[in-house]
Symmetry: C2
Subunit: 433 residues, 2 copies
């Protein structure tokens, strides 16, 4: 740039018109300089030059959220021959590997700390119970509805990824593979095939979990004091996509049938929990051991809301809950407002103040978040003899229709009778006023 000191204050005002060519040269130079800065700053978007996050991005560019067509030819953990998806392939330094991947894929970085990926699944063969697959389809549809409303992704696994980890243990390899296939996800949420969302608006309180890596629903006293394998339920858990979690999954799998230590652990579990080895008892053991040790706790037993709710305590309350919610809506106009399904979260936020006295979980009149039909075994039909198959099927119908009503509302319809899955009625304007 030209130095100014020689101009002094003694010169009269600049007379641009005396030298229009000089003026123009100045203008052009400035523009050239600016363009040069812009050009070099956009080199980041060219794969070979990409090393850091992009800052501003144009919303009118393809896919302002995720760039699904961008995978730079820069090595990541995927290119490491020693990396593998199976349980036997130990992984180290996963936190750094994920961070590097996110750094190379900047379109996935915004809000990545809240990103949830749901994994569910069932056997690969048809259910033995005649209505089994029908209910599995409805439970899956319910989960997909929840994901669509909240912008989550979901994967349904129906193959045995590790033949030595069948049955209840099969979720471990599935969750692990999902973590590795989805480095953009911060949380993996396992949900059993027979768990349904019964509050389509409720969201995981992730801000409460910043110090935890594993959350499961249960009763701490039952696990830590009474050592009951029923003190928690492994049908629904959140696991953070990090090295600590991969190590936990390794420890958990080590207690399972693929492990040479299976018999040893079976003995320990019988001793501590008076129960045979299964994924849930093993998990209870892992929780207990962490609880008993000094140091930071990364596993949390949630008691504040139905991350997993036992259907027997829930289903008979759904009719009353429906009426309470309708009552609220009768007096709160904004909650009756029709809207695009995509902005449903807004109405969840608007509804919260009306629910401040609702409580949560057993005894409350808040919609239960997740209702789990533990013991019903809709697929093989071998339900807990405490209840009949018909009781289970009727209850599943009620819960699934209760949930479906929250979805169908956005399409203009409702099941007037929670027990009738087939019949729906169109909703009048300003329902339920």
């Amino acid at each position: 740039m030209v130095a100014f000191h020689h101009l002094g204050w003694r010169k009269p005002a600049i007379r641009i018109l005396d030298r229009p060519s000089v003026f123009l040269a100045g203008a052009v130079s400035a523009l050239l300089l600016l363009w040069g800065c812009f050009f070099f700053s956009t080199l980041d978007s060219i794969p070979f030059f990409s090393r850091s996050k992009s800052g501003l991005c144009n919303c009118n560019q393809p896919n302002p959220a995720f760039n699904l067509q961008f995978d730079p030819p820069v090595s990541t953990f995927y290119d490491d021959p020693s990396f593998g998806y199976t349980v036997d392939k130990r992984i180290t330094n996963w936190d750094q590997k994920r961070r590097t991947w996110l750094g190379l894929h900047p379109s996935f970085e915004p809000r990545s700390h809240e990103r949830v990926f749901i994994v569910t699944g069932s056997r690969s063969t048809p259910c033995k119970s005649p209505t089994g697959d029908h209910f599995l389809l409805r439970f899956y549809r319910n989960k997909v509805d929840y994901c669509r409303i909240h912008g989550y992704d979901i994967f349904y696994n129906n193959v045995l990824l590790d033949p030595k980890m069948p049955s209840c243990w099969a979720k471990i390899p599935a969750v692990r593979a999902a973590m590795l296939a989805h480095p953009e996800a911060e949380w993996i949420w396992w949900l059993d095939e027979d768990a349904a969302f019964t509050d389509m608006e409720y969201k995981l309180p992730l801000q409460r979990y910043k110090d935890y890596n594993f959350i499961v629903h249960g009763w701490p006293k039952e696990v830590y004091v009474k050592k009951s394998w029923l003190g928690l339920n492994a049908g629904s858990f959140l696991i953070r996509n990090c090295q600590w979690s991969l190590d936990l999954l390794d420890s958990w799998a080590d207690m399972g049938p693929r492990s040479p230590n299976f018999d040893k652990w079976a003995g320990i579990l019988m001793n501590e929990f008076k129960h045979e080895s299964d994924d849930q008892t093993a998990l209870a053991y892992l929780l207990l051991k962490e609880h008993q040790q000094w140091g930071t706790k990364r596993m949390h037993i949630e008691t504040g809301y139905y991350l997993e709710g036992y259907w027997v305590l829930i289903v008979d309350t759904l009719k009353n809950i429906t009426e309470r919610y309708l009552e609220i809506e009768t007096t709160t106009g904004m909650l009756r407002r029709r809207h695009a399904e995509k902005v449903s979260e807004r109405y969840g936020v608007l509804r919260e103040p009306s629910l401040k006295d609702a409580g949560n979980e057993f005894g409350s009149w808040r919609r239960p978040f997740v209702t789990h039909f533990a013991g019903c075994q809709p697929c093989n039909g071998k339900h807990n003899p405490l209840f009949t198959g018909k009781r289970c099927r009727d209850a599943m119908n009620i819960a699934l229709n209760f949930a479906d009503n929250q979805v169908l509302r956005n399409y203009g319809f409702v099941h007037r009778n929670l027990s009738d899955s087939s019949v729906v009625s169109p909703l009048p304007f300003d329902y339920p006023a």
Copy 2:
């Protein structure tokens, strides 16, 4: 700008250093002018000034894609008492209503012209065939997999929204309700319960459809000349979310069982197409009538790729297609590269040059886009007597596993045997080299 003509060619080269202040003034003026242009163009991003698409946005803002919690208290069509979701509630001016909604929800505007929403569904009651629901679950899982890879949303409808439009007609009220519940979507894509994606990478060539509002797969000559109701297949169609389409759905529904004109139309369809009234024959009639009229055509019969492919022509080719693709991958390193599932589209783009001689549809070795098991009736089991139930089930297994392999690859596994749905093997590094 200062005119140059007075400079002439007789002047010597510009001597900037003679007038540094003029040069600087030129530079500063250019920058001020540029900044001014930028400022006024970004006024769009300030709500009170927003009347058009937002330009730049910061990717690090909360939820750069969709703001799910924003629904301003400004009237839209949802707040109009005369607006309704049912087929009998005629809607007018839908294009303007959608545009207004998008304008009020700017986070949904970017790329809205490409946004696809898939609708599928089945009956509300369990299938009569013992394996029916099992296959429906797998077909649904397949569709959800495709959506997850491409960022589409999907809705599975399993209630009868209009009791007077049962069976094959039930898709019309479902598609219509989806259009109204999803003003953010430009295209609604109806897919039958027994249609599967068999090319997980292929994308709809939407750029070819800018002049069309309705696309279905078929053979123009069969429809327009031979007047065959089999000249198209209503099991897969794209319909643009616009007023023209709502009017088309009204015309289509008018030919159906809810309409007082049903008998009249049944007579006309029998006369023209020699076939009883159903949704497909009615659609063929609508295509024929548009074709015969003068003026702009908005309906298109796609012949270039399997928007819907008949399984009988496809299933026996899948083994060979698998081998051809593996051959290509053996010689093209980038296609063997493991990656996050979320960036799979990138590898679809990379694969295209290798497929330039593959052709498309019958006789090609390109993966078929959508394979439809028309005639198999997996739910009620009343298959076309041309083939056996076992032939259908075996074929569905092969196609679903063929598709599943493309998904499972991202989780590190493969079905080595396309006929075996249960067994998968871990993939070695650099497979299939």
